[in-house]
Amino acid sequence: MADQKYETPLLDQLESGEWPSFVKEIKMAAETNQMANSLLGLLEQSYEERKGHWKHGGIVGVMGYGGGVIGRYTDLPEKYPDISHFHTMRVNQPAGWFYTAEALKQICDVWDRYGSGLTNMHGSTGDIILLGTRTENLEPAFNELTKLGFDLGGSGSAVRTPSCCCGMARCEWACYDTMALTYYITMRYQDELHRPAFPYKMKFKMSGCPNDCVASIARADISIIGTWRDEIQINQEEVRNYANNGVDIYKEIVLNCPGKCIEWNGNELKIDDSSCRHCMHCINVMPKALAPGKDRGATILVGSKAPIIEGALLSSVLVPFIKIEEPFDDLEIWELIDNMFDLWCEEGKNRERIGEFIQRVGLGNFIEAVGLPPMPEMIAHPRENPYIFYESFFEEEEE
């Protein structure tokens, strides 16, 4: 029960309007949890003063792990002793974020016992974020979570918790089993996830098709995006149904196709698949009539990141197409990924993401060093490529 009630006029304003408010949730938690109650007081003070009252702690964690706990202390421990420690625990989410109600209740029960009771479902990398606990509660909370079958996720200069779209569990566009691959990657890189050994963070994100629902092309150091290499499947009858039901196929689909590869004569839709950019637009507009091809796999890309130290980057294609089928041990990408990790560890600067490293050394040098030949799919437009150096061409010229 809350000992002291804080007046929170500024926070209260955030409860107005149509949207769910984190303030309402903290107030509910504060009825039974003193940490949540003190958090209201501290936040109100921060809003009044326009000043944060947190200090970042760098040493707390659980035995044997180098990540999964983000240390945090308030700089007003005398005034708010209940939240003098307010560490975050990151818990590795199940692939695709599927839970039973029972599992969710169990996680919340652990957090009511050992923390503020507040959670963030989910953090931007995908983890279950448990907000606010004390140093002495970290090990007991971790022990209880592991008994329930959960593990901490990644933080620091390590592989971060891999995440994926719901893929084949719910989505007919999935070109490979994102959830199975995500589980496999999580287990394959356990060491790299829990024992930080990289220059900076390394995120894997898996999307089942180019709709890229987990934004892997913008948020992951290694993006694995489902695609196909044969023809888009067309059901002409359903195309005509869309047209009869008011879809302006010429305006909405033909004109919006970035590959300029669709023809529509009012009765039949034709696609020149050799020019298709696999953008999914036509399929998204007419999901009953069109579907990705049958020869499905994924494109592997490298190097995106959100802006932190430097600006945002999008991923570049490394492997245009690869079949993603079990057993995943046999996929040819692991050696390539190991080579990338080795090179980045060897040559990368502290806090340099792999995408920034590639920009610094040049994609041409990077792919040469990791043992990949240059391919046309790595560039956006012919003759606009700053990366590939045609040595044989120059040698002939010089002779």
């Binding site: 760098g58 044997g64 792990y65 983000i70 202390y73 024992r195 930080p196 220059p199």
Partner: protein
């Protein structure tokens, strides 16, 4: 072929490197690995031995991972930000 150095020997050497430079240098896992391979020679020490040595140091509690902008390996100590 030269006989491989043991994991505990490398762990001890790493511990000494960290201890001797406490407050002067922060060691990342790769820095410790490079320094150990240089110390023992590439024919006696490799990346896997270094990885295992770091694991031994951490699991025994002689060293801990810390995060100050990047992840480092340090001798356990009280940090400035800590509240009692």
């Amino acid at each position: 072929m030269a006989e491989k150095v043991s994991v505990s020997e490398v762990a001890d050497a790493m511990y000494k490197m960290i201890k001797d430079t406490m407050g002067i240098k922060k060691w990342k896992a790769t820095d410790l690995q490079k320094a150990s391979i240089e110390l023992f020679g590439a024919d006696r020490c490799d990346k896997q031995i270094c990885k295992d040595a770091i694991k031994e140091l951490i699991n025994s509690g002689r060293a801990v991972y810390t995060y100050f902008g990047g992840s480092y390996i340090e001798i356990p100590h009280d940090e400035g930000a800590k509240n009692i």
